[in-house]
């Protein structure tokens, strides 16, 4: 349900469904994202994603024209897959539909079955498909639907039981993923992180141009998921009918623990508790120490941020996570907004702030920046927390914007920004305090050298 009183959308606070799917497919080793639709979609999304990650982002397209829109896109889909096989040597093709192909009624599962039959003599890649019409949901539905499709279509058999944890991290940065991998390694368990864009979207400089970036979840690790100790699925908002973790639980009895994106102490505690539960091991001292330092920093910094009024906006999972963090450091989330419509958004915001705020923060879903701005006039925020598309408003209201999540198009290093677990929260807290201090210093005529 949208909380916007308007019919039109102005400066949307969401992206379209296939973008999320394309980005998720990029997190599988040897995979190429493939959009079944007209050429423009792939190009726009590439540009949008490249501007954040500053990495190559090849998205193939079936490039439908007028004829195909009338007679069906099947031949182009098949030809396109053959082309990415031969030129990219892709071992996985992640096919996501678009509004065009959904509306003309292309039956992608049937077309792919035909393709496998027609070209059965060739060494075929794994082809995973997901339905992502952009008139339904946002990029987060696309992301989660693609992850669910990877699990449900690639994991076919019950694997040998092993000391392995499945982690579905949600849309977090490559730096976040590296941090999560370290944590899992320090717990001493094997892990399948699905998807894993830590390498593929933050590559080192290399000797040659990579057709497909190295890194990403391997097919073997994906298939091993059915034999894992359990799954941890990050992100509190409901997105798809059956998530990857729920699917593995239903089919293979792999225990699924659903938690939030671990930002802040309480949500990070839940993450470490989940790891302890699945592995039967205590949290390594290193992370207990990180937690201790974070608490110490909260203590040292609390007065700088106390009572600051923040508007949080963006993807529903991240808005919930950031609100959990802000509420526990004494910042007042005065409006939590998302462009998505999401049936448990408000309930989850209430849950993560319970005991921290006198009442749940005001939450609005299905809104755009026009709605947010209209309300902000009465709210007098001190601070905005979200991706870089809120900058126009931060400038207009003369309040600082703390950039988090995706996309960061007006600053450098968005892909290396950390948000998660105690370590990521530490960086967020330091940044937040400094945003407040910098503003205080700039606004003061005194020129304080100590703050």
């Amino acid at each position: 349900m949208s909380d916007s009183p308007y019919v039109s959308t102005t400066n949307a606070c969401k992206l379209c469904t296939p973008l999320g799917a394309a980005l998720a497919f990029r997190g599988v080793e040897g995979a190429i994202p493939f959009l079944h639709g007209s050429q423009g979609c792939a190009t726009y999304m590439r540009r949008y994603i490249i501007s954040h990650f500053r990495e190559p982002m090849d998205i193939a397209s079936s490039a439908l024209g007028e004829k195909q829109a009338v007679f069906g896109g099947g031949p182009n889909l098949k030809k396109g897959i053959l082309n990415v096989m031969s030129k990219y040597g892709a071992s996985v093709v992640g096919v996501a539909t678009t509004c065009l192909t959904e509306t003309i009624g292309d039956d992608v599962p049937r077309l792919l079955a035909e393709f496998r039959k027609e070209f059965g003599d060739l060494p075929l890649p794994e082809i995973v498909h997901v339905s992502t019409p952009s008139y339904s949901g946002t990029h987060m539905e696309g992301w989660h639907a693609a992850v669910a499709a990877l699990a449900s279509q690639l994991v076919q058999d019950k694997a040998e039981p092993q000391r392995r944890v499945n982690l579905m991290p949600g849309l977090v940065s490559p730096a976040d993923l590296r941090h999560l991998k370290d944590i899992l390694a320090d717990f001493g368990v094997d892990a399948t992180i699905l998807p894993d864009i830590s390498d593929s979207m933050d590559r080192p400089a290399l000797l040659d141009y990579e057709k497909l970036p190295a890194g990403g979840t391997t097919l073997a690790d994906i298939r091993a998921m059915s034999g894992s100790l359990g799954s941890i699925e990050c992100g509190r908002a409901d997105h798809v009918a059956e998530s990857a973790g729920a699917n593995l639980e239903r089919r293979f009895g792999v225990k699924n623990l659903r938690i939030g994106i671990p930002v802040g102490i309480r949500e990070s505690d839940a993450f470490f508790a989940a790891l302890e539960e699945l592995t039967g091991l205590p949290t390594p001292k290193k992370y207990q120490d990180e937690r201790g330092r974070l608490v110490d920093a909260y203590v040292d910094g609390h007065k700088y941020v106390a009572g600051k009024r923040a508007i949080v906006y963006g993807e529903e999972d991240l808005v919930i996570a950031m609100t959990a963090f802000l509420a526990e450091i004494g910042v007042k989330p005065i409006l939590c907004a998302t462009g998505a419509t999401c049936k448990n958004f408000k309930a989850q915001l209430a849950a993560v702030t319970e005991g921290l705020l006198p009442e749940p923060p005001e939450a609005r879903e299905g809104v755009d920046f026009h709605d947010i701005a209209e309300q902000a006039a009465d709210l007098a925020p001190d601070l905005l927390v979200g991706h870089s598309k809120g900058y126009t408003y931060a400038k207009a209201w003369n309040v600082p914007l703390m950039r988090v999540g995706f996309p960061i198009h007006d600053r450098f290093g968005g892909q290396r920004m950390r948000h998660v677990a105690y370590g990521g929260t530490q960086e967020l807290f330091d940044r937040l305090v400094n945003v407040v201090l910098e503003r205080k210093q700039e606004d003061s005529a005194v020129g304080y050298g100590y703050l």
Binding site: V7, T9, T17, Y88, P133
Partner: protein, 461 residues
């Protein structure tokens, strides 16, 4: 290496000096080839976008609007309505039951809120499929609100950017001929095909003003609806970026008898030639105009040339790859690079025509590779093979260059540096110089390996 090229695309690549010139172009992009092209909607959107006091409503699902929000650095000296992103954000039920009602309600709501001078309504892929009668809704809303509400038939799948340019020109053409032209000077022009990126059209208008030429309408950089309504009162259309607005010039010639000339404001010769061509056109009516044009060029060059020389010193002999949207820009870039002593070894475009490519082949040095509708695999192959030092392109080409340890100059519509005019040539040189001569390249593994190989070779001798 040859593996990077698709069999079906071999005839879209040509090496000058190797056999008679023939290049296939203007084809649909190859499925699965990761074309750098966008779509019809993109073409319309980028051309009309800078009209700053119009409402630009994208009728479709959210993606089309959100990826084009404030996409160009097209500046306005007044209203900035164009920088907002409006959409009908079609949902599943709209797709099933039709989006006309929602479109009408959205238009009425936004026109009431923003009081625009006109509204453009962009049809996207899905609107073409579900069959909304966008034109009828536009007529209805125009009647109710009293402003022009103009449908732009830009369904994404109906071609590439060029069809989008056509749709944009048709939309603008409906505005011309509706304003009062009684006070327009006989020495007057419309500037077509400049989008005021980083304030470029202000630079160009200033040159024309110093020549005594009145600019009636900017089409479309820093554009205004009322100016376009009066555009038929100008004596001459000066058309840059031929692909985007040439059709409008042709329609205006046919209907109003306004002649047009082609121009380019990039690089020294093309900038000067453009001013001279306009002076030439008006010299009978204004005998002093050529003198004044020469004066402008002289003044500007006396500032530019000494500074340019410093950059040339370091850039002499370096090799350049150019991959841009329209081929016309490539002509000017090739000439501009000659001023910097640099050699263009690869040049291509997303949507060039046969004539464009023939002209390109004629001005390129032998051995230059010319490509149409290329893709990352091909471009990276050629960058390595031709040992390129600097790549000129847009956001999607940048990581190709950077990953290969090659300097990059952003010459796309997202740029924030003015590259047009004489002052723009200096900015261009500065940017090229800053990237091509940076000390960081030595650390990039490919360049490091090349340097090592070079050193080993020297030692062997």
């Amino acid at each position: 290496m040859e593996q990077a090229i698709f069999e079906e695309r071999r005839d879209q690549i040509h090496r000058t000096g190797e056999g008679p010139f023939e290049l296939a172009c203007n084809r649909d992009s190859l499925a699965g080839a990761v074309s750098q092209r966008a779509c019809v909607f993109c073409g319309s959107r980028v051309v009309l976008y800078p009209i700053a006091d119009a409402l630009h409503l994208v009728h479709g699902p959210i993606g089309c609007a959100v990826y084009t929000w404030d996409i160009r650095g097209a500046l306005s000296s007044g209203p900035e309505l164009h920088r907002l992103s409006f959409s009908t954000d079609l949902q599943e039920k709209d797709v099933i039951f039709g989006g006309e009602k929602k479109l009408k309600a959205a238009l009425l709501e936004l026109i009431e809120r923003h009081k625009p001078k006109a509204a453009f309504v962009y049809a996207t892929c899905i609107v073409g499929i579900i069959g909304d009668d966008v034109a009828a809704v536009c007529r209805d809303v125009a009647e109710k609100t009293g402003i022009p509400v103009i449908p732009v038939q830009s369904e994404g799948f109906k071609g590439n950017k060029r069809e989008g340019y056509t749709a944009a020109c048709k939309a603008m053409f409906t505005l011309t001929g509706t304003g009062d032209i009684s006070d327009i000077s006989p020495i007057s022009i419309n500037i077509l095909g400049d989008f005021n990126l980083a304030g470029e059209i202000w630079i160009i208008r200033d040159y024309f003003k110093r020549m005594g030429v009145e600019t009636v309408a900017n089409i479309t950089g820093d554009g205004r609806v009322d100016d376009i309504r009066r555009a038929h009162g100008a004596a001459l259309n000066v058309v840059q970026c031929s692909g985007a607005t040439m059709e409008l010039a042709k329609m205006m010639q046919e209907k109003y008898g306004i002649p047009f000339i082609r121009a380019s404001y990039l690089g020294i010769e093309d900038m000067a030639d453009s001013l001279y061509a306009v002076a030439e056109h008006f010299k009978d009516r204004d005998p002093g105009i050529m003198e004044r044009a020469q004066q402008v060029v002289r003044e500007e060059l006396s500032v530019l040339l000494p500074q340019l020389g410093q950059y040339r010193k370091d850039l002499e002999g370096k090799k350049v790859a150019i991959y841009v949207g329209g081929a016309f820009k490539a002509f000017s870039l090739i000439k501009a690079f000659r001023h910097l002593g640099m050699k263009v070894v690869l040049v291509g475009s997303q949507t060039g025509t046969k004539e464009d490519y023939e002209e390109l082949a004629a001005i390129c040095d032998p051995g230059t590779v010319i490509v149409d509708d290329s893709n990352p695999l091909e471009l990276s192959k050629f960058v390595k093979e031709l040992d390129v030092d600097l790549f000129v392109g847009g956001v999607k080409e940048r990581p190709i260059a950077h990953k290969l340890g090659v300097g990059f100059c952003d010459h796309n519509h997202e740029r924030k540096e003015a590259l047009e005019g004489f002052v723009g040539m200096l900015n261009f040189a500065r940017e090229v110089h800053a990237s091509a001569t940076s000390p960081i390249w030595r650390f990039v593994p490919r360049r490091e390996a090349m340097a090592k190989a070079e050193a080993a070779k020297k030692e062997a001798i």
